[in-house]
Amino acid sequence: MEYAIEIANLSYSYPDGQQALRDINLTIGIGESVALIGANGAGKSTLLLHLNGIIKSNETIKILGLPLNDKNLKQARSKVGLVFQNPDDQLFSPTVFDDVAFGPINMGFHPNEVRQRVSQALHDVNMAGYEQRSPQHLSVGEKKRIAIATILSMSPEILVLDEPTANLDPRAKWELIELIKGLPMTKIVASHDLEMVTALCERTIILDSGSIVADDSTPSIMSNAPLLESYGLAPTSRLAIAFD
């Protein structure tokens, strides 16, 4: 069987020597939607940056059966779409059109194809007609949608989202969750928003100090309060009692 992502014995230390990831072994099937949860600094974002080679690994990662090395980098990057946490980092162009077109242009599509992809991607995130707007005039929720469109226009097979619901009010958050839920590709979502994880992902992985400490179906992880508590993802039992 072919996997969307295969990671074997991945370890990574930051340039300053601090260990960020330890011996990660992970396979994600095609079409799965997986949540990566963990406290701040657990290594979620670092792991995501490995998935399209922004942080280099030594061929310990395979994307759709393809080892991630310098030769396959471009191909892998068009298969793995990475949406960054802060849309102000993701959207760097003067207009929405330029930003959504950036990926397809770099992939070398014909101008007509690029235009078609841009309008399709904006349509998919319910932002059709925003082509000529400038990102700085948009609300955070709108920016998040555009940020996702910049990736959808490259038609990736794997969608990787870093904290998609950060800084969103509840309405914008649930609209975004609905939107992501409707997308057909394999999804990997890093977050500590357990509400969203429950609504969106059937499988959940807990990362703690750079290691995978739990990997199970979302319902069984969410119902395991002591587990969540011990990795700093739920209120301590004293507080939980106070809430009851």
Binding site: K74, S78, S93, P94, D98, F102, S134, Q136, M154
Partner: protein, 256 residues
């Protein structure tokens, strides 16, 4: 947070707004060149230039007061460059202009007048250009006119992140002031220095993240863009009318 953007009024609808940015860039540069090459004594020519800009402003439906106010930004520069020239430039002392012990030379005054009127007319036309053209369109126009893509990229990042940084600074100021900022001058300076350093580091890190987002979308160091600009007949008419007016000024000036 809301800011008044660099290209305020650029989303209005008028003949000038509809023109292709390339048309506007080229005519603006031609206008500035003409103004710069006109000798200062021919005030009639300058009056005609002003009429041209004034008509353009009226067509553009931009509030004239806004243009006038913004054009005042050149005052300090003109003063800095030109204010001493009338006192320093040797020449026939025009008898009536005596400020205390200094003689004011006529030729020096002429230079000052030239600097003032030329920079003012130029800035008027530039304000008109930026107020009738969206910044993104302006960049597209410059790109089509073969400005290096790297420069375009730098300008577009500047435009995109200028206000992001302004927001960041104002948040830092709020955080500072809500902790009773004050005290000795040296202490204040130290705090401000730290803020500048923090802002630099944050911007640097943001740059890294932005680059990551670009690389994630197959960016390999080569800047590629798509052009959406199209000349229309209106552009042709405008360019024709503009150069007709400009040559009219030239002819008038030659025969006066």
């Amino acid at each position: 947070m809301k800011h008044s953007f660099l290209d305020r009024y650029s989303d209005r609808d008028s003949l000038l707004h509809k023109l292709d940015p390339r048309t506007k860039i080229v005519t603006t540069i031609a206008f500035i060149l003409a103004v710069a090459l006109t000798p200062p004594p021919s005030w009639q020519a300058f009056a005609l230039y002003f009429v041209i800009v004034a008509i353009a402003i009226l067509i553009s439906k931009i509030p004239p007061l806004y243009v006038l106010k913004r054009s005042l930004v050149i005052v300090p520069f003109v003063l800095l460059i030109g204010i001493f020239i009338p006192f320093l430039k040797p020449g026939d002392a025009s008898g009536s202009y005596n400020v205390w012990i200094w003689n004011v030379s006529h030729s020096g005054l002429m230079v000052l007048w030239g600097i003032a009127i030329k920079s003012w007319l130029s800035i008027l036309s530039l304000i008109l250009l930026s107020a009738t053209t969206k910044f993104a369109e302006l960049l597209k126009g410059l790109e089509q006119l073969r400005m290096p893509k790297l420069m375009i990229m730098i300008l577009s990042f500047m435009y995109r992140y200028l206000f992001v940084m302004v927001d960041e600074v104002s948040r830092m100021k709020q955080a500072r002031d809500s902790r009773n900022f004050g005290g000795k001058r040296t202490w204040q300076l130290k705090t401000i220095g730290n803020m500048i350093g923090t802002l630099f580091i944050r911007s640097y890190e943001r740059g890294e993240r932005v680059y990551g987002a670009m690389v994630a979308r197959c960016f390999e160091g080569q800047i590629r863009t798509l052009s959406r600009l199209q000349f229309r007949t209106a552009d042709l008419y405008f360019v024709a009318a503009f150069f007709f007016c400009l040559s009219l000024v030239g002819i008038t000036f030659l025969f006066m």
